[in-house]
Symmetry: C2
């Protein structure tokens, strides 16, 4: 362990210009740099309108669903259906731009209450209709792809009308929230009570409470607030065989924790309609700060020590050398040579950026917690501006990706987690697999979720897109990365399984694990209407990566 005195120096203001969040477009210098780095040609790739097939929902099914939710809430128009056609993975986006077959739901159904969701499911069983629960549509693993499985039709079950803050218990710091609440609206409703979930993943702007629970989401401040599953105290699940409610105590030994079977079930075992969440007072003060450490090994060792001393900042995010370089290049405000000299003078030759953020009820509390975190860790501070820049740009990933997509870039992220003793081995293995598969490419990595026993690894990949087979290009790379992860870490730390990780689940939970999940599914969804082809793959996807085109 490092017992040296903390070296947290403040960078001179003259070293940096202004940090500007990058949203929606790339600055010219970044684009030039990128062209050089990944050998990008000057190909603009305009989107084509995707094909929308005829709806296969039968009239009796439509009538039955209309009876439950009201006829106006069973929508078969092109825009409604296209708006719920898949999630936000790179392959989803390609398909939405006209590359490859897009799976479009036959209808969108919008129930207004937990009771209506149960009745919708019963109607779907009766009319042989598959159901894809749909919240913000932010899945990046195919979790909301409109697969029919062996059913006659498939609906997107859009939960946005379940948008109530049902109750607040301020003494117990518990709130019951409906599943369709988008995170920003949930936060506004809680803010009226002075409360927050503290759950802020990159999908925050669109994702919903139900989606967080269904996918075991982890937010950017997970070090402080915990993973979403750790906040869930109770769930209300609609299934084709009725409603299942769990929760009511802060902790229990009344048999296995069945709530944990529901959380992470990805719409395959039921539709989460409400969750009871542990909430906290909204922080009055947030302080974000940027640091650098010399090299990945030292950086990850520092984060490990903070986690094991249990003094992590609420937000703790370590970028590797490549991601640090790109972050600084993209930001564009740094006087690069002066910064290099500044860092070199402090022994930092291979800077790894570390963003730390503390929340608290007062400046004094935040200062106290900051001091606790920094005691005995050797970090060079680059000041609050870098931290604030990160905070302002924290949701821009998807927008930057949209910009890159239009420039012919193959751009995607993937993530995993493992124990500390394997973190560097896993990072190297995934990098190597991606470089082998993609050739000239840029692979960046960061730790954004740290635990006493290990950490997550989040990779961002950029390569020149293979215009002939863009979907295939990425699927080969993704398979290579997934193979590299298998045996060394988990196939997903917070993106979930969906279609994309389903082929790797057996290696992680065993054949018995799949059997157990299947037995639970048979109990709750005997006819298999719920989200076919996700998590537990059927025969039609078992052979490889699920592809709607294969149906």
């Amino acid at each position: 362990m490092c017992h040296t005195v903390a070296v947290t120096e403040r960078i001179d203001h003259t070293l940096r210009g202004s940090w500007t969040p990058v949203a929606g477009s790339l600055p010219p210098h970044a684009l030039r740099w990128l062209r050089e780095r990944i050998g990008l040609g000057d190909v603009r790739t305009p989107a084509r309108a995707p094909q929308v097939p005829e709806s296969l929902l039968s009239d009796p099914a439509k009538a039955a669903l209309g009876e439950v939710v009201g006829p106006g809430y069973v929508r078969v128009d092109r825009d409604s259906r296209l708006g719920r056609a898949g999630g936000l993975s790179y392959v989803d986006l390609l398909r939405q731009r006209g590359d490859g077959g897009l799976a479009v739901p036959d209808a969108v159904v919008l129930p207004a209450s937990p009771e209506q969701v149960v009745d919708v499911l019963k109607a779907c069983v009766e009319h042989d209709v598959a159901v894809v629960p749909f919240g913000g549509g932010t899945s990046v693993v195919g979790g909301v792809t409109a697969l029919r499985g062996d059913k006659a039709a498939v609906i997107a079950l859009d939960l946005h009308r379940l948008d109530r803050l049902v109750s607040v218990d301020p003494v117990s710091r518990l709130a019951v929230l409906q599943a369709g609440l988008p995170a920003p609206r949930a936060e506004r409703l809680l803010a009226a009570h002075g409360l927050t979930t503290g759950h802020v993943p990159q999908s925050y702007e669109r994702a919903t409470i139900g989606g967080f629970a269904a996918t075991r989401s982890a937010g950017q401040a997970s070090s402080g607030y915990g993973r979403f599953e750790d906040m869930v105290e109770g769930v209300r699940l609609a299934t084709p065989v009725g409603e299942w409610r769990l929760g009511g105590a802060p902790a229990s030994a009344a048999g296995p924790d069945l709530k944990r079977v529901v959380v992470g079930s990805e719409g395959v075992l039921g539709v989460i309609t409400e969750v009871s969440l542990r909430v906290r007072p909204r922080p009055a003060v947030e302080r974000y700060e940027g640091f650098v450490v010399d090299g990945w090994e030292r950086g990850s060792a520092a984060v490990r020590r903070l986690a094991q001393r249990r003094v992590l900042a609420d937000v703790t995010r370590l970028s590797d050398v490549d991601e640090t370089a790109v972050s600084l290049a993209l930001a564009g405000g740094w006087k690069t040579n002066a910064l290099k000299a500044y860092l070199r003078a402090r022994g930092v030759r291979r800077p790894c950026m570390l963003i730390l953020g503390w929340h608290g009820a007062s400046k004094a509390e935040v200062a106290r917690r900051r001091a606790e975190t920094l005691r005995g860790v050797r970090l060079v501070s680059l000041g609050k501006a870098l931290g604030e820049a990160w905070r302002h740009g924290r949701f821009n990933g998807p927008r930057q990706r949209d910009a890159l997509l239009g420039l012919g870039v193959c751009v995607e992220t993937l993530e995993t987690a493992t124990h500390w003793s394997r973190v560097s081995e896993l990072r190297a293995a995934v990098r190597e697999a991606l470089v082998d598969a993609l050739g000239d490419c840029l692979v960046m990595c960061h730790i954004s979720h740290a635990y006493e026993t290990g950490a997550s690894l989040y990779f961002t990949v950029l390569a020149a897109r293979d215009a002939a087979d863009p979907v295939g290009q990425w699927q080969v790379a993704k398979a290579a990365a997934s193979e590299a992860i298998t045996g060394l870490g988990t196939i997903s730390h917070h993106h979930a399984v969906g279609t994309d990780h389903a082929p790797y689940l057996e290696a992680e939970v065993g054949g018995l694990g799949l059997d157990v999940l299947a037995s639970v599914k048979r109990t709750l969804d005997p006819t298999g209407v719920l989200n076919p082809g996700k998590l537990l793959v059927g025969d039609f996807t078992r052979a490889g990566l699920a592809s709607p085109g294969d149906r």
Copy 2:
């Protein structure tokens, strides 16, 4: 919230005498007091030797088991069988003393490895033998009662030969421990690496690692180290259909957390043979201190504030007025009138004792954490001696109970947990139910596990034993308490379900919850050899409290 300056005064040394841990016997003054308080007669109740029926294990079954574990490790002698006849609940102890029918296993089988456990289970399936996994035998809810279910015989599967520390990963702070390790030995093995689990329940001296996992145990220092289930990163489960291994990452979103299906499964879904645990450095310094607060409402509000500010001491234990009075009376060293005057002068008329304990790497760290806990909370300190006295006597509960048992006392504990807004309501309801059922009795209560959203409630009950039907007397009271708990809290916070809570599980997890558990059981234990009558009750126990006499 209370923002007043902390009032932590140190009691004058002249106020107290020496604290002597009470072990194995009651001091005369305590006995006098007890006789008065619960109307105890002068009845000594000597134990009778329980009857041990012939073993029903068939010769072929015995031979098959001997082939797996070696003939010397299949034991049918009286002492071996009697030594694994049930756990340590009050009713268990009565039965072991000759009151009511005692369920004695037909044999004790001692496997030496996880592989042998799988083979034992397969042999049991083949020979129609029920299996009760047996660690320390400390269940207080009938979890290790030797019920045959519909099988021809029942064995106690004693796991004590699985006693290895399999591996330690000091970087990731992970240790793999075998299930049969008694806690003290596990701690000694870890101590050689400078590590600890920090898991210290009252059953510590006898209980095993596997038992902790199977029952979702919570230790006395759970506020600092977490519940046992929160330490478990991986499990190895032997089942009749093969071995199931889970774990390998600090966190995951690869579907539901199936590890949580195994943890808390009470030997009904499989036999836990190894667990991978998050461990921590052994604390160099431990400081325990006793405080008092004026009244239960203020006391529980103070604990709630500490939990919600996330500055709980590692050990946090609040006794109600009655438990405080008994603790002081039992301790016997306090100059009662002087103490009363001392407390009254500080505004404390209804003292509730609060034991706080901090662990740390140094005196400075412990002092820092203590200051953090005490900032802004109004407590009157009674000094370190009271804290140390609690620490030294922390495992004496069972021994005191033995002493009371011999004196004709009906003495038992039960526990639950609920959200803060219901803590006082639940405490009152359980007290009322017990007093209604038992008449003249003493009901004491404490909070020993606090969370942001709620707390556990632990009750100790003393009454004069009904000599005519001691088992029935308690079963009526337990049923009344369980009914009172149902709907307000969980049927068990850390004792598990066993036979005693099984009738109340449906009210907590729903019919669908039972169906889900049953479907998992059918998958892993298709013929139902594993621990019949526990957790998921079969028809033979469904109608009421399981009683071996009913078989």
